[in-house]
Amino acid sequence: MMGSDNEGFEEAHLYASKEEMENLVIDNPLNDSNSYSNYRSALSSAISDTSHPLAPSILVTPADSDPILSPPPYRDHLYHNSPTESSYFEPPPFGDNVGDVNGVENHSLNLDNFGRFSRSASWSTSSSTDSEYVKITVSNPLKEQEASNSIVPGGGTYVTYLITTRTNVPEFGGVEFSVRRRFRDVVTLSDRLAESYRGLFIPPRPDKSVVESQVMHKQEFVELRRVALEKYLRRLAAHPVIKRSDELKVFLQVQGKLPLATTTDVASRMLDGAVKLPKQLLGESSVVVAPHEVVQPAKGGRDLLRLFKELKQSVANDWGGSRPLVVEEDKEFIERKEKINDLEQQLSNVSKQAESLVKAQQDMGDTMAELGLAFIKLTKFENEEAVFNSQKARAHDMKGFATAAVKASRFYRELNAQTVEHLDTIHEYLGLMLVVHSAFSDRSSALLTVQTLLSELSSLESRAEKLEATSSKVFGPGKSRNRKIEDLKETIRATEDAKNIAIREYQRIKENNRSELERLDKEREADLLNMLKGFVHNQVGYMEKIANVWTKVVEETSYYAKENS
């Protein structure tokens, strides 16, 4: 009866009052068989606990093996009892199951004893339709010294992480390699990807959150960040397009300094723009948006004039009487967008209720444990003070009850830890919604650029017309007039080029949006279904276990039921 309670649980922690429970020694009342046998002789021999009912089971598994439960750090408040010394295990959802490597079903449902479901969220694991894989590990944080004085004061040291990649993808030109990167490099990577892959749903990078580093111990913060970085990089490697990007390859492979252009700091960009603007206004420098710049949204600082123009255009779009020359005509897109918003709302709602549910399950487990503990104390007390046989019998009954309560409480807490994991899918998709919005806004800004260029083109062309029309009549033929027309025509051609590029970019982003939405729908359906299955199997498994625990007590106390009726 008792010895079996460790079966199949890789992690059965006792989450609270472990010390308290361990310190309570329960005498086996059955040693005193003489006086006891008057009462319930039939039961006395049957129930022999060989092991301490509260023996804590095996704790801690190393990070790489079948991982358990420490929830993602930002969910800590639900799970305040996780033992600190075990640090952070990788939660299974992030495709850490190496078993997935060789063509295992993408949406596999690995059920072990009690439906503990190790899910592989589709959008964060490699697609298994090809048997290629890219496995990334982040480890070994080290403090390093800043080589030269940086502009930012208070610098000096920073942390680097060892990023190890194992892959069989040929484009990488290697099977296993490592680099050292600092967080700043990750920001760079993220920015470059955002520029190159507008319209895609790019996984969001970890926050910069300097504040937290002040609040936590450095060690804790570094560990949190390590986990977050790993998660991020794995997601990038799981994205069908990003995984093949040059930026990612460079990041993972090139030794030494990261050869990606860093974002210039805001100050110098502002400076740049401020210098250029007067010239632009006076017509002294080219007001044409260079083609290569067209493929990027107008950035603050550098492109002040362009910003103004696009702002004017967007106002015209919203308030002006005339329709802009190109509109978001894709009705289907508008519908999808509405649906995404609706979905986001519902996900948020479910997420909130899921948190309540998890808290309630946790509380149930905690209170059950406290009840069990109280009865264990009572058992001990009655045994010590026993004068009558009736007391000994009662102590025995209490012990059976208390042990069951403690077991049941453990199951509740285990169930809950896994519920947290499963329902985490909801939170993941909520996070994804932000990314989707960002991809949609890529589209909007590209459209705005097109609209701006179109109306500019149209106004340039009408100027040209006017100029042609006011021919020799006004000021007589002159080189200056012709030259003006020529210049204008030149500007029109350049703007035309820019417009075409902008339209192409817009189409590209539209297509990205579309294909990503399709991918999102498919993967979301699979992931959410898996989540439901996992949740349900989990509940079934643990509830069966809990029922068994109590059924045993029912049998053991059935004597009283007969007495009563």
Partner: protein, 401 residues
């Protein structure tokens, strides 16, 4: 509502020639009477008996909580040494006082209270019990209003109380700081046990109550979760949407199960635990009574002794106060012997009672554990079955996608 009395008081046609004597009582039908602050609950108390001391085979009376209190107080006065069954507390918060749950809990507790008295071989013979079970409401009201706290005591009793206080004071003055106590190691052990037991039980009861709350909270959150999931399902549409809908519906069903179980837990586990605590408190009251009786016995013995010495002195002196002194001495001696008898009776009774108490409690707790376990097993199985029924539907979803 007065049942017809049998014409011939003593004999009644027996149902079977050798019918066992029985006395069965039930407290039923709580009804709210009165208005506003004066409002209270009345209960129907139905007595079925074949005992000759009673007016008939069946009697129904209307009683309220303070009537039960009257009965308890009377029994406590008359049957020192016996553990009087405990009463449920006077109500707590105003708002809660008339909630269906509270009323039911109280009714159950009152029913148990009366039945325990009726099945106790000494208490069941009490005249006060008969009065309680049979008197009409006016009589009951009159009796009830007579018995209020210290004012119920007869003048002689009041004197005794003052004397007690006096002697305590003089004890202190004379340097006898410690009140007179028995030096009985077994009894010491018992007292220690009772006091400790109350603490342990109170803690267990506290957690039991919390557990009831947890069931309700879990039920509520399952309901909310179910609703949210259904909305998400509506948003998703297609087979996934259906899956969500079903899950949401199941979740709401389980919420109902949890609320039911919470109620069961309250009535069949938490209440018995509370009752256990009250019983222990009742024993503490008896312990206090015993201490009083012991002290009284000691004091009277001592006073008698002094009186005896005085009497002898007077006799030797051939004083004319001898006669008076003799009378006083005899009275005191009688009182002292009475006090000793009383004390010894209490000791004897308590010894019997404690055995009975322990046995009863083992039985009560055994039943409580049984019910608890039954409820939990039922709940867990119900939850497992509900979720399990979803599995084929979920499997169907994934094979179709």
């Amino acid at each position: 509502m007065i049942a017809t009395r049998s014409v011939s008081g003593s004999s009644q046609s027996p149902r079977s020639p050798s019918s066992q004597p029985y006395l069965s009582v039930s407290v039923t039908d709580p009804v709210k009477l009165g208005n506003g602050v004066q409002a209270y609950i009345s209960y129907r108390v139905i007595t079925k008996t074949n005992l000759p001391e009673y007016q008939g085979p069946e009697k129904i009376v209307i009683r309220r909580y303070s009537d039960f209190v009257w009965l308890r107080d009377r029994l406590f006065e008359k049957y020192k040494g016996i553990f009087i069954p405990p009463l449920p507390e006077k109500s707590a918060v105003e708002k809660f006082r008339f909630s269906a749950e509270f009323i039911e809990m109280r009714r159950q507790a009152l029913d148990i209270f009366v039945n325990r008295i009726a099945s106790h071989h000494e208490l069941q013979q009490s005249e006060d019990l008969r009065t309680f079970l049979q008197a009409d409401e006016e009589t009951m009201e009159r009796l009830r209003s007579q018995e209020t706290g210290i004012f119920k005591k007869k003048p002689a009793d009041l004197m005794q109380i003052f004397k007690d206080v006096q002697s305590k004071v003089s004890d202190v003055v004379l340097g006898k700081e410690k009140p007179v106590e028995e030096s009985n190691p077994e009894y010491e052990k018992l007292k220690h046990y009772i006091f400790e037991l109350e603490n342990h039980l109170a803690e267990a009861q506290k957690h039991a109550y919390r557990l009831v709350k947890r069931h309700r909270e879990l039920g509520q959150s399952l309901s909310d979760f179910g609703k949210a999931v259904k909305l998400l399902g509506a948003c998703e549409g297609n087979s996934l949407g259906k899956a969500f809908s079903e899950l949401g519906t199941k979740s709401e069903t389980l919420s109902v199960k949890l609320q039911k179980e919470a109620h069961q837990l309250l009535m069949n586990f938490e209440e018995p635990l509370k009752d256990y605590v009250r019983a222990v408190q009742s024993i503490k009251a008896t312990i206090a009574e015993r201490a009083n009786a012991f002290r009284r016995q000691c004091e009277l013995a001592e006073t008698t002794k002094l009186k005896e010495i005085n009497l002898n002195k007077l006799t030797l002196m051939r004083s004319d106060k001898v006669g008076e002194a003799e009378i006083e001495y005899q009275e005191l001696k009688a009182e002292s012997e009475e006090a000793t008898r009383m004390f010894e009776m209490i000791v004897r009774l308590m010894n019997e009672e404690i055995v009975r108490f322990q046995e009863q409690k083992t039985l009560d707790m055994g039943i409580a554990f049984h019910e608890f376990a039954k409820g939990q097993a039922r709940l867990a199985n119900g939850i497992a079955n509900a979720w399990r029924s979803l599995i084929p539907k979920l499997e169907a979803c994934s094979s179709s996608s």
